[in-house]
Symmetry: C2
Subunit: 148 residues, 2 copies
């Protein structure tokens, strides 16, 4: 069982993509995050859903979540208005989140070890030129390993 | 849009459940983790996939992932043999991972604020007796909010 057998296609974004577009990619994708690629298509880091929320949720709401209950405003409008004008680069945390990469012939055990070392539920699969060509998620890895 | 409208059913485990069973629950579920409940069904924390890997992946493999490439052993057998005899309690990290809870009538904005405060992509929905009755994931929240 090799990384290339388990890898799924996944959405990527560039550093200068709009934060709003990244939020839409994360929505309903069942992924822990979106892979951020550089201008050559090489994976750089992961934009997590919580990174987007950090900008999308107004500060007054984070400070006092129950207050959000009484706000008579459309949640989508409010969240998207906070993201307006921001890029993926703006949303990334100061400390770069490690994204391990493997080539398609890496074994399932090697992928598991890399997830553990990086404390990352995502490993990017790269082709011979270093471009992102898929992702192995922890749940897909367990699924394939335990079903085999 | 309320937490109860977005919540999905989800697998839970008790503290004394077998680690192997928790790994099977995580496999292919597209969830960031499994909710761990106490004997009354109240959510206590989250068992993440990486918590399970920490025990399932042999130390020699974590220390030198490329070495895993040359091992001529079935990955499932190896990982499951490492989990044998361990419980969910054994796999939980020393520092308890925060799992926010809300009642079903919490608003989407309130749920988003709680995810952000706890840095958690999961919020457990509890009924009036404090028992876990569903989960809101960050991707489901974004999906429902942005589609509304």
């Amino acid at each position: 069982l090799r990384a290339g057998d388990i890898a799924a296609r996944f959405p990527t974004v560039g550093l200068d993509a709009r934060a709003e577009d990244a939020a839409r990619l994360l929505a309903g994708q069942h992924l822990p995050g979106v892979i951020v690629v550089d201008e050559d298509g090489a994976p750089r880091t992961v934009l997590a859903g919580t990174d987007v929320l950090r900008w999308a949720v107004p500060a007054w709401c984070e400070d006092d979540p129950p207050l959000a209950r009484v706000i008579d405003e459309d949640a989508a409008d409010l969240l998207l208005s906070q993201l307006a004008g921001r890029t993926v680069r703006d949303c990334l945390p100061g400390h770069r989140r490690e994204l391990p990469t493997v080539e398609p012939d890496a074994t399932a055990l090697e992928v598991a070890a890399l997830m553990l070392r990086a404390d990352s539920p995502l490993v990017a699969v790269v082709d011979g030129d270093g471009r992102a060509c898929g992702v192995v998620t922890l749940d897909a890895l367990l699924h394939r390993v335990l079903a085999s």
